[in-house]
Amino acid sequence: MKHYFSLIIILLIVSVFSLYADSKIKVVTTLPDLKSITEEIGGDKVDVFAIATGYQNPHFVDPKPSYILKLAKADLFVTVGLDLETGWVPPLLNSARNAKIQKGSEGYIDASTNVPLLQVPSSVNRAEGDIHIYGNPHFWIDPVRGKQIAENIFQGLVKASPDNQNYFQTNLKTFNDRIDTKTKEWITRMAPYKGSKIIAYHNEWPYFEERFGLKIVDFLEPKPGIPPSPNQLVKVIGEIKRENIKVIISSPYFTTESADLVARQTGAKVVVLATSVGAEEHIKTFFDLFDYNVNKLVEAFK
């Protein structure tokens, strides 16, 4: 009997603690970049969990049941959208048993809302590889578009906790101001290399390319999502030699075998850039992401 009594006391204490913990807005984001921005805007009012890690291919994340537990308890769900996560978000949301965060509900935040998109296809055909029908979904790799992401997250946070609107508003302004300042700094650092031609592994850099005035000439993948083929590599080697290209950019989740091969044949440098916060241990925030990438590129172009 005594044991039962102690068990009840423990359960009560646990429940009180969980009530206390509940006072924060629980947010689940698909990518760590969205987590970072949510933390910038939500400050100490949010408790954020990101499903994917920064060094993981965001197209291919396993929908592990443990994520369902997080989603079942979430107040907000933030997704990149544009079908980037189409292979793994639907099975998770379907099992989450949480109407608050389903598509169309107030707790479902599509980070791509009102973001000006690039590469919106006029027709879609899978013979062209993995084409995203709504446009290229890698828009978070642009600091300025990060401001629209922050705006979308701000709107969601206000709906979840209207009392904190002023607090979120102040944080949003701080974030936007900092983005403006830092973007100027990044653009200035990249200015000497404006117009530089580069090669990329996968078509995930159009927003970064546009922001920093780079020119991606070709990809190691013959078509998006199709692994590099010998024919494509021969073609790229030709292009690098012809156009005197110095840099090949890749991402942490692609093996560098083919990029290295091309580099050996041409003397170009392979630079593995970060596609997300957390790609390297010290890339802890959305700002670190661009600091890292700009540093890497400046170093490579020198």
């Binding site: 291919n57 291919f60 592990k64 709504y134 999502g225 989740y253």
Partner: protein, 380 residues
């Protein structure tokens, strides 16, 4: 008469002149409009309006899956065969803010007659917001038994189903009409635990169970436990129990255990992975007051991803039959899969089967799976 002609001609010319003038004004204004429009378009191109982010259609996600196969078996009347095994059509969407629906229609080849028969593979409604972490499913569905039964065969890493599965549940597995209620069990350790309870009519063609003419139904329960061992490794342990009418007037009780270990490095998750999955089925079939058969079967397989597109699977099968514990089958198989994309794969499998009731035989199988449309993602 001439006057009339002159009047008509003058009127004609005047009309033409007025018309041409009218026309030229119209042409001018049209040109002006075009220029304005083009200027607007150019301006619009500079700052594009927000694009539509979802197709403006309430059509469900649709897909068609083709399953073409080739087979060889020694000691058979017809050794080689090439055939189209199945076409599966799926329609999946939200019904309204409270539920979603999934339809899978199958046109499959009957192995003995070679003719195609259409059937509802699955058709069910799933709630998305019941209180207390509950989820209800109603319709015809593949029951939540272990790791093979809920999966459509085209998604498995081998072409034939494990002997134990086929002997106890048939080629089609246990799919039936009824209700399924699942609950995310809250637990102090915060690991994923899901309890599923299902009641169905009783399957029509199944070696273990049947649809009883009297009020006897199939009752099923499954407890799924899932742990993240590390960032890269997971473990799943499932326990199932079921009881239902068999083809005598008595019942069969079954228990099942499944254990799955998966390893996949997060960073290179498209290049490397490893799965070890095993499942055992235990059956207690009562066929008469004094005739109870206790039998069992097990399979265990390992799938290793050799490279981005290459998967190698080895499987061991051991099985009795629901009606006999004296009959024993053992089989070893190996399958090699080449996954072109998420929408196309080719697999080749070799298998040898020994038993205590017929001679050892060898099989070779080839399967080509192709998908068009928006085929939904598979569960983990």
């Amino acid at each position: 008469m001439n006057r009339l002609k002159t009047v008509i001609t003058i009127t004609w010319f005047s009309a033409c002149l007025v018309y041409s003038q009218m026309d030229s004004t119209a042409v001018d204004s049209l040109l002006l409009k075009r220029i304005e429009l083009q200027t607007q378009q150019t301006q619009q191109q500079v700052s594009p309006p927000p694009q539509a982010r979802s197709s403006a259609s309430t059509n469900p996600n649709m897909s068609a899956i083709g399953d073409f196969q080739g087979s060889y078996r020694n000691m058979a009347d017809r050794n080689f065969d090439l055939f189209f095994n199945e076409a599966e059509f799926s329609f999946q969407s939200f019904v309204d803010p409270y539920a979603r629906a999934d339809f899978f229609l199958s046109v499959a080849r009957d192995a003995s007659s070679g003719k195609f028969e259409a059937d509802i593979e699955e058709a069910y409604l799933t709630t998305i917001d019941l209180p207390a972490n509950l989820q209800l499913k109603a319709g015809k569905f593949r029951m939540s038994l272990g790791r093979i039964n809920p999966v459509h065969p085209h998604a498995l890493p081998f072409i034939d189903l494990p002997n134990a599965f086929v002997n106890f549940f048939g080629e089609d597995g246990v799919k039936d009409e009824g209700l399924s209620l699942s609950w995310l069990v809250p637990n102090p350790f915060d690991f994923y635990q899901e309890l599923t309870l299902e009641v169905t009519n009783g399957p029509l063609d199944n070696p273990s169970f049947t649809r009883s003419p009297i009020s006897k139904y199939l009752y099923f329960g499954h407890l799924k436990n899932f742990w993240d061992l590390t960032e890269n490794a997971t473990l799943e342990l499932g326990l199932s129990g079921m009881v239902g009418a068999n083809d005598s007037s008595f019942s069969t009780t079954m228990g099942a255990v499944d254990l799955t270990y998966k390893w996949k490095p997060l960073q290179y998750n498209t290049y490397q992975s490893f799965v070890w999955q095993s499942e055992a089925y235990f059956s207690k079939a009562k066929y008469a007051e004094d005739a109870v058969v206790n039998s069992w079967g097990i399979y265990s397989f390992i799938t290793y991803q050799l490279e981005k597109r290459w998967f190698l699977t080895g499987r061991f099968d051991y099985s009795n039959f629901p009606f006999s514990s004296a009959l024993v089958e053992r089989a070893y198989s190996a399958a090699l899969g080449w996954y072109a994309t998420e929408f196309q794969k080719i697999e080749l499998e070799g298998k040898t089967t020994t038993s205590n009731f017929q001679d050892q035989y060898y099989q070779a199988m080839l399967r080509w799976i192709f998908v068009i449309g928006s085929h939904g993602a598979h569960a983990y």
